[in-house]
């Protein structure tokens, strides 16, 4: 079944939340997304204060913010509710 945008955002956020911080390539594999799509979603989530970047030893990591944790919880709820309708 085709994943909608919410499902893809959820996959990204779940990876980052579980790992604490994750490299973009790691998120890309775990969330099963193309580089282009991941880049656009991460940029959208960063601009909304849901994700933030961290540079450690010259390597780029993505972290979830407190606002992001609340958003993730809401998104899980919404997804589950919509799934109960079969959407």
């Amino acid at each position: 079944m085709r994943r909608d945008k919410v499902a893809m955002l959820l996959d990204i956020l779940e990876v980052v939340y579980k790992e604490g911080k994750a490299k973009p390539t790691h998120i890309m594999y775990k969330a099963n997304l193309s580089h282009k799509l991941l880049k656009s979603y991460i940029s959208e989530l960063e601009s909304n204060g849901i994700l933030e970047e961290e540079n450690l030893n010259g390597k780029r990591y993505i972290k979830i913010t407190n606002k992001g944790k609340i958003f993730l919880s809401q998104l899980r709820k919404m997804r589950r509710f919509m799934e109960s309708f079969g959407l």
């Binding site: 998104l75 919404m78 509710f81 109960s84």
Partner: protein, 229 residues
């Protein structure tokens, strides 16, 4: 006047309270669906939200119409001048008919829209044809009232089949609640048909309808509660 009232006198107002509660539930779900649409930008959720909004507005239309009818009837009791009241009701007949027509059109449109979302109907010709038949049958349901309830029951049964298939696929508590909701609503519409014969049927149908929509609220609450844990 007889054609408008199916409720027993003791139930006047109680049905209005039931329907206010139903409208609130549907607006809550419509809002949720719209929030989901704003994130996903998937049109299915926009139509899902719109369908629940239409259900809410249809009940508001019924509430306002019923309220004015009950007011007229109760005024008759207060004054006891039957001739004066009868005249008032005759004047209002057109308004009552319009109110109920709006309720029926909005409710059936909402169910049809939900079915379009589930079945992923894309053909504009099929959509136009179905909308045409819906309007036609709703118009004639003013004269043969049970046509409306039959149409509603049929649409709801189709929605139940979709929800049941989803339950078979997912086997979650939430999906079973939604399937049960559509089944309860289907039964309520069938029971409504008998309200012209027995006014108690109207009470049972209203109670079933309230229970059906309350299941959606329960589903919403369950999902919210589980997520907090």
């Amino acid at each position: 006047m007889v054609g408008f009232i199916f409720s027993p006198r003791w139930f006047y107002g109680i049905d209005i309270v039931f329907e206010i509660f139903i409208a609130m539930i549907t607006f809550l779900i419509a809002n949720y669906g719209y929030r989901y649409y704003r994130i996903s930008r998937d049109k299915r959720y926009k139509y899902f939200s719109l369908a629940f909004m239409l259900i809410g507005f249809s009940f508001i239309s019924k509430i306002l119409t019923n309220f004015s009818i009950y007011y007229e009837v109760l005024k008759t009791l207060d004054f006891g001048f039957i001739t004066i009241t009868t005249k008032t009701i005759q004047v209002s007949d057109v308004l009552f008919s319009m109110g109920f027509f709006l309720f029926r059109v909005l409710l059936l449109s909402a169910f049809l829209l939900l079915l379009f979302v589930y079945e992923d109907v894309r053909s504009k010709k099929i959509k136009t044809l179905l909308i045409y038949y819906l309007l036609l049958t709703t118009f004639f349901s003013q004269y043969v009232f049970f046509i409306f309830h039959l149409n509603a029951a049929l649409l709801l049964f189709m929605l139940f089949i979709n929800a049941y298939e989803n339950y078979i696929k997912k086997a979650t508590k939430s999906s079973s609640i939604v399937a049960l909701c559509f089944l309860t609503l289907t039964i309520s519409q069938i029971v409504f048909i008998f309200s012209a014969i027995n006014k108690l049927a109207y009470v049972i149908a209203e109670a079933l309808q309230l229970f059906g929509f309350s299941l959606l609220l329960y589903d919403y609450a369950t999902v919210s509660r589980d997520e907090k844990r």
